[in-house]
């Protein structure tokens, strides 16, 4: 499955031709430390690309989670709300944040791929 990345350290993975899953990257969870709280977007609401769609907090810091591309939120990860440490334990799997119905596939295609994101993280260290 194709996975893309944002400069704000979200990942977005295609589920099929319409839907995608969004979470925070391994790098993001590592930088934050132990995640103790998440705030998730509203199901059914449409968000613009770059709009704040959630919050992730560790003991020491809070960070916003942004919508990687425009879309309507179709589902949020209720397990993550109950156990925010999933974002540390399995950020690319069980620690997903929300799913969206993609509005414009071109926005998805324009995001960074894995090697580009790795380079981006390295350059911003």
């Amino acid at each position: 499955m194709t996975v893309k990345y944002t400069p704000e350290h979200e990942w977005i993975q295609l589920e099929d031709h319409e839907y995608a899953v969004v979470g925070i990257t391994l790098h993001a969870q590592d930088a934050l430390g132990d995640v103790v709280f998440v705030d998730l977007p509203e199901v059914g609401r449409t968000y613009a690309k770059g709009e704040q769609a959630g919050v992730v907090e560790s003991v020491k810091a809070a960070a916003d989670v942004y919508m990687p591309i425009a879309g309507e939120v179709s589902e949020v990860n209720e397990d993550l709300r109950v156990d925010p440490s999933l974002a540390n334990k399995d950020p690319l799997g069980a620690g997903w944040f929300f799913k969206i119905l993609i509005k414009d596939m071109a926005e998805f295609d324009a995001l960074m791929d894995e090697p580009e994101y790795a380079k981006f993280v390295q350059a911003n260290k």
Partner: protein, 376 residues
């Protein structure tokens, strides 16, 4: 690398922090470990359960020497310096002429001199202030040649006594000089976590070897500044710059316990410190205070951080949070903030406005986690 990073100072344990895999951050002009690979939460829990080793060498150590040192130092603070017995340690506050707080500090009567520990970010300003006000009455000697370590937690004494025999005889808020393998140490039984523990002043050149000797003890793990902050907040202790600063008086900050009777109205040495008129008027209730520092516990599991607005139940803005996080020991969001005195009673309901939404909070007594000091 940015200019600020190049200018950061390093503590004598810098190489050891890197070797231990610490994540280093700028703090008080120093490159400091915010956490080690175990992570903040594990480091916090370890300190509450066993013993955590902290590098606090960024803090300022200084000596005030000479026959007039205690009398002179007392003119800068609303606390009893003169009657502090040799070997005893006390909490102090440097005040502006308006009675607001320049810094909070700890000092020990070492017999013949006072040993003072001040906040890292304040140390240059403190030194200048002390020099200016009492530099002609006593020697004011900074001690950059010494590192400062803290070993905190219920098993700190078991670990430290193996390396420095005799420290177990100290009780809370006392200090003494010790020799360990020829190294001159000054140890106090105090700290910033609410736990039993020690702060150890050690010559910079021997600091790394000493830290390694402590880390070799089975009870001890390194702990970063991140957990230091969550531990001190659970213990109800102020962080200078957040909870107290030059806009707050000791009475607004609910630190009147630090003002001994002898310095209060009617005491043998009442007043005579900067801002005394205002501070004592507030303490006596002759001048009302507009706000007071309180502890707060959130009734929902949403962390409430510094600068968050506090509202009363009618939606009126009444104050602000100055420190806040999810307390790892309690697994609940805790905070300190300032509210009008009529809203400062324990149990008072308030709302913290987090991302535009009210999070219900209740004024709560501090410490949030009971102190476990060793008083003998």
């Amino acid at each position: 690398m940015s200019a600020t990073q190049q200018e950061l100072q390093k503590t004598p344990l810098h190489a050891l922090h890197l070797e231990l895999g610490a994540r280093m951050v700028p703090f008080a002009g120093y490159s400091m470990p915010v956490q080690y690979p175990a992570g903040l939460m594990a480091e916090h829990q370890h300190t509450r359960a066993s013993a955590g080793l902290f590098d606090v060498s960024h803090m300022g150590q200084l000596r005030l020497a000479g026959p007039d040192a205690a009398v002179a130092f007392e003119t800068l603070m609303p606390v009893d310096v003169v009657d502090l017995a040799p070997g005893k340690q006390r909490y102090g506050l440097l005040l502006t002429d308006e009675g607001t707080i320049i810094d909070d500090l700890m000092f020990v009567n070492r017999g013949g001199e006072l040993f003072v520990i001040v906040n890292g970010a304040c140390k240059a300003g403190d030194l200048a202030h002390i020099h200016e006000r009492i530099g002609s009455r006593c020697a004011v000697v900074p001690m950059p040649e010494r590192a400062l370590l803290a070993l905190q937690g219920p098993k700190a004494v078991d670990a430290l006594r193996r390396v420095v025999p005799g420290v177990e005889k100290l009780v809370f808020m006392t200090g003494a000089g010790f020799q360990a393998k020829g190294v001159d140490l000054f140890v106090t039984r105090s700290g910033y976590t609410g736990e039993d523990g020690f702060e150890i002043s050690v010559p910079a050149l021997q600091a790394e070897a000493f830290a390694r000797a402590l880390l070799a003890q089975p009870e001890v793990k390194p702990v970063g500044l991140g957990a230091r902050n969550s531990l001190r907040l659970e213990a109800g202790l102020c962080l200078y710059g957040n909870d107290i600063d030059t806009t707050t008086t000791p009475i607004e900050a609910a630190l009147q316990w630090a003002i001994q009777k002898v310095r209060r109205t009617g005491g043998a040495r009442a007043g005579g410190f900067p801002g005394a008129e205002r501070v004592l008027a507030q303490l006596d209730g002759r001048e009302p205070i507009a706000r007071k520092r309180v502890g707060l516990v959130a009734l929902e599991r949403v962390p409430v951080r510094e600068h968050v607005e506090l509202q009363d139940v009618h939606g009126q803005r009444v104050g602000e949070v100055t420190s806040g996080l999810l307390g790892p020991t309690m697994d609940r969001p805790i905070a300190m903030g300032y509210v009008p005195p009529q809203l400062a009673a324990a149990g008072t309901r308030l709302n913290a406005i987090v991302r535009g939404k009210p999070v219900p909070m209740e004024v709560a007594p501090m410490p949030f986690v009971p102190n476990r000091y060793y008083r003998g």
